[in-house]
Amino acid sequence: MTSDVHPAPTGGSAGSRKGWPLWEVFIRARRGLSHQHVGSLHAPDAEMALRNARDVYTRRGEGVSIWIVPSSAITASSPDEKDPFFDPAMDKAYRHPTFYDVPEGVSHL
């Protein structure tokens, strides 16, 4: 039974309380959709994080599947780099698929 107990990621995170690391929670609302980030929580390990996510984020039948990712495993872009990262895309209208008609009846496109 202990074989499913994942070791807690070492190092914790800036937000850890009493040594419990932080986890990011992704939930798939229904089949066919992708997992969406819904928030974060603290838990001693991945299996407990999964159960906590079930209690915190799916109380009202929000999901059919949950992913848990250690927050420390996420590499994020920095707000300072916002301009070089995103600005060059702003004036390139041809990158947007606005010249096509979306067929009727196609959802989630």
Binding site: H42, A43, E47, M48
Partner: protein, 276 residues
């Protein structure tokens, strides 16, 4: 006259017919199951704002609300069945808030104090594993209300059982401190195990209406297999208590219930008929 008080008196078959006796046995049985869930829901609710983490706070609150939902169905049904015999049926609120200690039919396990987190988890493991076997057995009850409740509740208690299991594994197989406190918690709670499997408490309904109730003794082998596997995997040892609780189903309770009831009943008794 209540089902609770009727069941304590020798029944004179000249005054009351067999069908009524059967209904009283059913009402008493359902009341016992309902009181177990009501009192444990109240106990778990005491953790709200006091749990070690906000995530655990929510988890315990969810479990408490699941149990309260089961209590509502069971108490309403007990009141309805009782009403067929007495002529005046009591609602869920009457039964929850207007009975005194001696009229409650819960086992002692659910009324013991929360203690530390390990005690709460030990109690939860024992009770959820019992409820899992109970509701699994009641799926095939010939009583439609009980089998419908079991179908819904068995999924809820499967989660409660898993939640308690995860914590007993982690605390037992954690640090030396958590191991010792988890073992101490099991030792403290275990004397209350025997009572929940006591067939004598359920004899009336098993005889009166075969196929309606689950014989608690028959639930025990599967319960033992599950709980003992958890305890062994958690590197804990199975307690061997030198005493056992008894009498909860007959209305004999520990001091703990006397302290719990005013907390639970005060609002309703101070403001009769108050609603949200």
């Amino acid at each position: 006259m209540t089902a609770a008080s009727l069941s304590r008196q020798p029944l004179d078959s000249a005054d009351i017919d067999q069908a009524d006796i059967d209904q009283i046995a059913l009402a008493t049985y359902v009341l016992g199951l309902g009181d177990d869930t009501l009192i444990l829901a109240q106990r778990l609710g005491e953790w709200i704002t006091r749990a070690p983490q906000i995530e655990e706070d929510i988890a315990l609150g969810n479990i408490a609300l699941d149990l309260l939902g089961q209590a509502r169905t069971l108490l309403s049904y007990a009141g309805e069945v009782e009403g067929k015999v007495t002529g005046t049926s009591r609602g869920e609120d009457d039964l929850a808030f207007l009975r005194d200690e001696r009229e409650f039919r819960n086992v002692h396990l659910v009324e013991i104090e929360n203690g530390d987190f390990a005690v709460t988890m030990a109690r939860q493991l024992i009770f959820s594993a019992y409820q899992y076997e109970l509701y699994t057995a009641l799926l095939t009850s010939t009583d439609p209300t009980l089998s419908a409740l079991a179908a819904k509740a068995v999924k809820e208690v499967a989660y409660h059982r898993d939640h308690a299991t995860q914590w007993v594994l982690r605390l037992g197989d954690g640090t030396p401190e958590s191991h010792d406190r988890m073992q101490a918690a099991l030792d403290q709670v275990w004397p209350h195990v025997e009572e929940i499997f006591d067939t004598a408490d359920t004899a009336d309904i098993l005889t009166a209406l075969p196929g309606v109730a689950a014989d608690p003794a028959a639930l025990r082998p599967a319960w033992s297999r599950y709980v003992e596997a958890v305890i062994t995997t958690a590197t804990l040892s199975l307690p061997a208590p030198t005493w056992r609780s008894r009498g909860g189903r007959a209305g004999y309770h520990s001091e703990n219930l006397g302290h719990l009831l005013p907390d639970m009943q005060n609002l309703h008794r101070s403001h009769p008929g108050a609603s949200w």
